[in-house]
Amino acid sequence: MFDMHRRAFIKRTAQLSALAAITSNGAKNVIADSESVTDGLSWQKAPCRFCGTGCGVMVGTKNGKVVAVQGDKENAVNRGLLCVKGYHAGSILYGNDRLVSPQIRKNGKLVNVSWDEAIDLIAKTVMKKPDTFSIYGSGQWTIPEGYTAMKFIKGGMSNNHIDPNARLCMASAVVGFITTFGVDEPSGCYDDLDSCDTVITWGNNWAEMHPILYSRYMNRRNSGEKITLIDMATRRTRSTVEADHYLEFVPQTDLAIANCICYQLIANGTYDKGFVEKNTRFKSNEGKDLSIEEYLEFLKAYTPEAVAKYSGVSVEQLIMLGNLFGNKQRKVVSLWCMGMNQHTRGTWINNLVYNIHLLAGKIGKPGSTPFSLTGQPSACGTCREVGTLAHALPGGRVVKNATHRKQVEDVWNCVPGAISAKPGFHTVRMFEGLASGEITSMWVQVTNPAHTMPNLHKNLKNAKERFVIVSDVYPTKTTEIASVVLPSALWVEKNGVVGNSERRTQQWFKMVDPPGQARDDVWQMLAVAHRMFELGYEGLKDRDGRFLLTVHDDNGKEIEAWKWEVFSNNNVDKQLFNEYRDLTFLKHKDLAPYDQYVQAHGMRWPVTQQGTRWVETPRRFVEGEDPFVAQGKGVSFYMAKAGDEKALIWARPYQAPPEVPDKQYDFWLCTGRVVEHWHSGTMTRRVKELNRAMPSAYIEIHPEDAQRLRISNGQRVKVTSRRGTITLPASINGRAVPQKGLVFVPFFDEGKLINHVTLDAYCPMSKEPDYKKCAVKLEALI
């Protein structure tokens, strides 16, 4: 018996070796230096393509194709582990419907055309009405991609209509950081998960959405450490399973719960007096200075007894939270993502959680930090640091500030005054403009707004009649409305640099060629800009009359990067990154030169040169870790607007959401993700293992609600809001269970677009829409 196995085994091995020998003859050169090559298989580092956690992966390529993905043990984020999406990231390149040719819509149909024809059409159409052109970008843009788009539109076209999908994702976090600390992005880091004793999640299902971080923390329990997990949420999820406390709150009352904790800290005298006096100031909601007594007066509306009445969280649980933060010994990390950001008071709730940590002195110490998680691989690196937002400029600058504009114009060598002082349209406004005709053309890169915008019927109205250019890798809902479709290179088909949630900048090299005629997004923009320059567009000339987006090679020689052959044989990323780097020092977001990131498996900014070494900063604002904190300062919020190194504690009240369930529309609707799919599913739905495990959206209903409405598991349910309706199969006691009166629908499924139903009300400060709360009614179908 064994002999037979052995023979079969040898035979099969021989067959496969022969096959390998044949195919390896045709192997293409892999552009970058390989870290490891065995049997024609090469492994190189890259950051994962998906979420903002920023895991390091090792990509296995063979014969010019990606054949395997493993976790990068050298990467401090994930230490070798990945989630199911990360392992299967290689498959996203090989869906059979990859876009491989530029297309122009002619007589209603997309027709394959040459790159020259597409670029010429775009350049000429945009030039006709340059002021009503807009760019809608992405937190999945690499840093050089976002930087190029920014320079093109703000520097070259004197137009600020550029905003990223991160507006739908991180804007509340940004405004929260800026209003409290005077500067964007977290001060803590993932290392705090290794040294804290308590994690509290605010509306965040991290077991599915940031599973690597969840495992990083929970594995400490597996090895015998005593750690606590508190899950504050509106539905029971996989993150609730291991939680010590589950606090189920009524949507929007997180505002009141946070204030209740602040009330207890001050009323009980358990706040960190020394820290608060040295490092903070109090502000009224309107921005007036408050004394601590006046602040306490404001908080008196938020006693545990008062808040328990409408939050759904019991007095005991609220007191437990108050005592937890009041306990000087506890090291607490607060985590949140879309639950707090996609909120009509997203900025306030971000401020409020900082209030708690500032009052408790639980910030700037190992294991104690409020930590805002990101959803996209470079929402931080590109949208927030490069600043691809309607009001921003690179390095934390803003268009309204004349000095900032001049600094950027000098680096870009623009004609003085080229950058407009008037902020452009933010995302929702941009799509309203597209509907109304205030925006006549739009270039969409690396995102799928016809799927992910809220209230689609309203926000995508008339989009087909405008000139919409879409750069993407697969057909999507957005290519359906496009006038021009450009096929893009994806992930390791191009060079890239991205920045994750913990200020970690990571670089990778191109490993395989893009399919067909697919080309880099940076190249696409350079080519269109250069065509406009050739056609005599004044804005694209720099001070010396040369092409504004000129790129040089390593020796400082100008290269014709708008030609694909030239672009693909040079590392244009390196030039763009090093140029952008000059703009990162103003707000102490210092980056190292490109080559340092080639060596490192990611580095957290500010990165400064100390002797011959480039040193990263694990925790910002902390003496001994952050080089910009002077000796003897301890913790210093050195970017405070008033220049007094103090963070602001804001008196933000509870405010009811704009739409609440009533008699007619009697359920809350919450939307979100599942572990298998990422955002609109453009990539993950091309992966067999992922799509097979979760092939369709569904609606989660509480078992008692389902019983009352006579809905059984798997039954079709019609969900309707004032804006639209869709039909979904019901999930009862599935992987998650919502609170009574709330339903949950994942948004990945383009066949069942929940965004026909969602509301587009947004936070007035951050302009980020609330995808987590609106009123719907259900109807069981037979």
């Binding site: 085994f9 043990k73 690597i212 992966v687 067999k688 369709s696 598991n713």
Partner: protein
Amino acid sequence: MKHLYIVFGVVIFAFTTIYFSGKHTVVLASDHEVVVANDKNARHSHIETGHNFFIDGLHTRQSRRAFFSAPPVIPHTIGKTDKECLSCHQEKRIFRGVESTLTPHPEFKNCMQCHVKGVAPDYIPSANYGVNSSFIGLDKQEKVSRAHHLAPPVIPHRLFLHKQCSSCHSKRHDHESGISGPHNKRKNCMQCHVLADIKLDF
């Protein structure tokens, strides 16, 4: 009466399993892509036998992974929590005469972070959810090599997440025998078997 119910239950269960195990087949497609057909309701369908279970075992293994060393999909019905996974995959259990596969990385307990089901959840109506992909995953066979035909083969994969050799390399049940060794009782594997390439230990 009570006994009758139990007997009835056992009979129904036996019929169901026989029915579905018959329907569960592994199909090798021409482009090296292996698909598991008709296993939507199969409970523990990984317990199947074939004429040449050596090759069948490899095919079954391959059918559950996107590429060599990818996390396998879950080939049977599951509960809601990871604790339920670990009740069989952390300590040896015998189910229908077959030992459970022990996890090669007991230090990780958030199982469903990496392992997803090979079929859709029960509340999603069955339909053809096929994915058109030309992805061809790495095949493990190419790197199995040895100095001479009597030398111990080198280890062709990384050790991270794969430290418990016996999880896969045992004669635990037939279909996995494609990668089982001739001396399963020996435990100190790395006395004779070394990594094919130190660079594999990235």
